[in-house]
């Protein structure tokens, strides 16, 4: 037997103290109630008579004492939350791995969660391996504690852990582990690791969750955006599901829908692209709903806030025309002489650049020599764009239709070439640092057929989007997110700043909890919605574990309730029997 609420020695101490207190209180003589009688004459006569006590009368008090102690013991045992003992098969270094997928937050019938049950069993396992080295890892965080023989450290680490996704992470490992025990509900399929002992905490429970939620931006100026919501009832019976959808503070939908067992409801509704904020939030609630993290989902409609783009050029051409027609862009034309940095989110410099680099992200087209762009290199005539990198600015760009007359590279400007000619002359370069973001086209639109090529709107659109929004506003799962190197800050939904890990060419942030994250990078910002819900997570009636394992996990609960409930029941029965037979003096 193991104890879920405390360490074994604490549980035994609690039980001993409870029994001792019960025995003490039993032996404590309380002042009996006073009853006035006409005379004690007859009572004296009765009590002075030597009466032979029956065997039962002689032992009845002892039986009562034992019953009292058992009541205290049963209650104390219930407090310790006992459960079946999980023991390590043999001694040696032990690695305990907890499946930290979101489905582990599902409530079970015993009013606990799969996670709490896994932690309790892991603690019991760690205690059973007392003296040996134990390490704790989760599928999301990898190794979090150990290897250590300090059981208290392991228990503290286990108490500290919370489910945090980690579906796609690598299997945690520790050197020279003799045994690996994996506590999981099997909601997420994982490759079978050899030698891993799997402990199931799976128990089928009904759930209602949002399995898809997103917003599609308008495709034209006259088009409307569309929001899409998918809710599934993973229960064995139909239930009323309340669905609400809000945009900012405004309610778009609030209704209760009868959803059949296993039924999916799909709602798609047009919304005004620029009326209201960009934040959309969907919520569901139902009676049979074991998991909370899939009850709410968020989406961000970037087009709700048109981009202010300033085009600085003496001769506005195709670029200005293109941006003017973009429904997601609010363009302003400015002559170079009149240019002053404003509240634009992206500035386009066409064949001109200011002396100082702008604070806002900039798309620079065929710039003249400047200190911040760099020293112009040799001009290449009719360069052929041959290398196409995987930078987001180049996504979907077809270079084969381009016919460029001349282009030149720039040196010492800190530019990173993302597309170059066969001879190595940069065609498209970017500058991505925490202080500045820019995209540089090394050729003028007029010096090419660019304005007529299919790549034109794609490349310009990509550049503006990349410059204005360092991250895509597409819904994503919790976990690490790769961000541009220029990222300066990531704000979590609760307002806290998310730590950034910087590598040579990118920054990585862990977006662990669902919600809207704000990403800021060198004068640009973006909102990233993070959602948990999905069919594989919300369906708590299925598991990838084998039938035997699934039944073993749910069997204890199917056979009855958690053990502490039996403790309460035994205590109640004993107390009732004791009160009825002893206090009412029925058995003596």
């Amino acid at each position: 037997m193991s104890f879920g609420a405390m360490a074994a020695w604490q549980a035994f101490l609690l039980m001993a103290v409870a029994v001792a207190a019960a025995v003490y209180l039993f032996r404590l003589r309380v002042r009996p109630p006073k009853i006035a009688v006409p005379s004690l004459l007859l009572w004296r006569k009765v009590l002075d008579q030597k009466r032979d006590l029956s065997w039962w009368e002689r032992v009845r008090r002892a039986v009562s004492l034992v019953a009292t102690a058992l009541v205290a013991l049963a209650l104390a045992l219930a407090v310790t939350r006992p459960g079946p003992r999980v023991t390590a098969a043999s001694r040696g270094r032990l690695l305990i791995v907890l499946d930290s997928s979101w489905s582990m937050r599902a409530k079970t019938t015993g009013s606990e969660t799969r996670w709490r049950r896994a932690v309790a069993e892991a603690k019991a396992l760690a205690q059973s391996a007392a003296g040996d080295e134990v390490a704790v890892a989760t599928t999301a965080d990898g190794l979090v504690e150990g290897p250590t023989s300090d059981t208290a450290l392991i228990e503290t680490a286990l108490d500290r852990l919370r489910p945090a996704g980690g579906e796609g992470t690598a299997w945690p490992r520790v050197g020279n582990a003799d045994q690996v025990h994996f506590f999981t509900d099997g909601a997420i399929a994982r490759p079978n690791e050899p030698g891993v002992v799997v402990h199931s905490v799976y128990e089928p429970v009904p759930n209602v969750g949002i399995t898809a939620f997103g917003v599609r931006p308008p495709t034209s100026a006259t088009d409307k955006a569309h929001v899409y919501l998918e809710v599934v009832n993973y229960a064995s019976e139909a239930q009323d599901v309340r669905v609400s959808l809000t945009r900012g503070q405004a309610s778009l939908l609030d209704q209760t829908i009868k959803v059949g067992a296993g039924e999916t409801i799909r709602q798609s509704a047009p919304i005004e692209p620029q009326a209201g904020g960009g934040a959309l939030r969907a919520k569901v609630s139902a009676r049979g709903n074991a998991l909370d993290v899939d009850d709410e989902s968020v989406a961000w409609m970037a087009s709700a806030e048109p981009l202010n783009v300033t085009v600085v050029s003496d001769q506005p051409g195709a670029v200005a025309l293109l941006l003017q027609r973009d429904p997601g862009v609010k363009m302003t034309m400015v002559a170079p002489s009149a240019y002053r940095p404003g509240n634009e989110r992206v500035v386009v410099f066409d064949r001109w650049v200011p002396a100082e680099p702008p604070a806002t992200p900039a798309l620079v087209i065929a710039p003249p020599a400047s200190s911040w762009i760099g020293r112009p290199g040799d001009e290449e005539r009719t360069p052929r764009w041959s290398e196409r990198g995987d930078h987001p600015v180049l996504a979907g760009v077809d270079p084969l239709t381009l016919d460029i007359k001349r282009a030149r590279g720039y040196a010492d400007g800190g530019l990173l070439t993302i597309a170059a000619s066969e001879k190595g002359t940069p065609v498209v370069a970017v500058h991505d640092s925490p202080t500045r973001r820019s995209v540089v086209l090394t050729f003028a639109v007029a010096d090419s057929n660019f304005a007529f090529a299919p790549a034109f709107p794609v490349l310009i659109g990509n550049a503006v989007e990349w410059l204005a929004r360092p991250a895509l506003a597409e819904s994503r799962r919790p976990g690490p997110m790769s961000l541009p190197l220029s990222t300066t800050k990531v704000i979590a939904p609760d307002g806290d700043e998310v730590p950034l890990i910087r590598t040579e060419d990118r920054a990585v942030a862990r977006l662990d909890t669902p919600g809207l994250y704000h990403v800021q990078a060198a004068g640009s910002d973006a909102v990233v919605p993070v959602n948990v819900g999905g069919p594989e997570l919300s369906n708590l009636t299925r598991t990838t574990l084998s039938d035997a394992l699934a039944k073993a996990g749910g069997g204890e609960r199917a056979a009855g309730r958690p053990w502490w409930m039996y403790g309460i029941f035994v205590a109640f029965v004993l107390a009732a029997a004791e009160w009825w037979t002893w206090q009412r003096r029925i058995t003596v």
């Binding site: 309380v30 002042r31 009996p32 109630p33 006073k34 009853i35 006035a36 009688v37 006409p38 005379s39 004690l40 004459l41 007859l42 009572w43 004296r44 006569k45 009765v46 009590l47 008579q49 009466r51 009368e57 206090q583 009412r584 003096r585 029925i586 003596v588």
Partner: protein, 290 residues
């Protein structure tokens, strides 16, 4: 408690007589046959005239026939001294017991007063209290009520002390009615024997209540003796409760057997029983009233 009887009940009481198994000398003329010859209405006997006898009692017809002076003797009809002992100890303090005792005493008083008997009310506990003599005639019943209503139970029970004090006051022999629960720590035997030795005709009325017969509680209790204040912690089990009930029954049977052995009248009056039934049925059945 206000002692009042309905008129119908009083009428019924008037038809009843207190039966004394012996004739006692009274002090006043009444309607009860006395032991001595006197000036009654019923002829009893003749006796030889002696100097000093009342000439008016000479039977001249007998003198003419027999030539001797004979005196006509008549049965004397006198009152009966009735001593009503009411236990006013703390053990009688239960309202139902003491009220029943007072009602019984009031009813017996009324019967005695209606027949011009001399009734004396004697409350007692460990000693004799202030005796109360209401007078003669049934009109005095209201005074009796007032006297009885004024009684308050208090003190321990001592029958021996009570009757010793009673005997020391030099009483005329008569009918002594003892109304008590007889829960005397010294025992009831010596007290009743003492009273019987004074030549009184004794009638015992045992007042018993449910509280006397049953312990009234189960479990750990602290009994308080209402007379002495003594405390006793008792774990009352059903077996012990049965033993107590048996002990009470033995006590009641001993009292009844004692009365039979010493030729004392005995009636048990349950405190919870209807009062009129006790007077009109139980007392008549016990041959105390006729």
């Amino acid at each position: 408690m206000a002692l009042r009887f309905e008129d119908d009940f009083l009428k019924k009481l008037e038809y009843l007589h207190v039966i004394s198994r012996r004739a006692f000398a009274g002090q006043n003329r009444a309607d009860r046959l006395a032991r001595k010859r006197g000036r009654g209405l019923e002829f009893a006997d003749h006796r030889q005239y002696a100097p000093g006898d009342d000439f008016r009692q000479i039977d001249w017809k007998a003198y003419k026939r027999l030539g001797r002076l004979l005196l006509r003797l008549f049965d004397e009809e006198q009152d009966l001294p009735i001593y009503l002992f009411i236990d006013a100890s703390r053990s009688m303090a239960l309202p139902e017991k003491f009220d029943q005792a007072r009602r019984v005493a009031a009813a017996l008083c009324y019967i005695g007063l209606a027949h011009l008997d001399r009734v004396t009310i004697l409350p007692f506990a460990d000693e004799l209290g202030d005796e109360k003599v209401p007078g003669r005639g049934k009109g005095r019943i209201f005074r009796v009520f007032e006297m009885l209503e004024a009684l308050e139970p208090g003190g321990p029970t001592s029958l021996r002390g009570t009757f010793t004090e009673f005997g020391s006051r030099g009483r005329q022999q008569g009918l002594a009615v003892v109304i008590s629960d007889f829960l005397d720590p010294e025992g009831f035997e010596r007290g009743l024997k003492l009273l019987a030795s004074m030549g009184h005709d004794i009638f015992v009325c045992h007042i018993a209540s449910k509280m006397d017969r049953h312990p009234g509680a189960l479990g750990d209790v602290r009994f308080v003796d209402s007379e002495t204040g003594e405390l006793r912690d008792v774990d009352v089990t059903p077996a012990l409760a049965n033993a107590y009930t048996r002990a009470w029954e033995e006590h009641a049977e001993e009292l009844q057997a004692f009365c039979g052995r010493f030729n004392l009248g005995f009636v048990r009056a349950d405190a919870e029983a209807p009062f009129e039934d006790i007077i009109l049925k139980t007392f008549r059945k016990g041959r105390f009233l006729a």
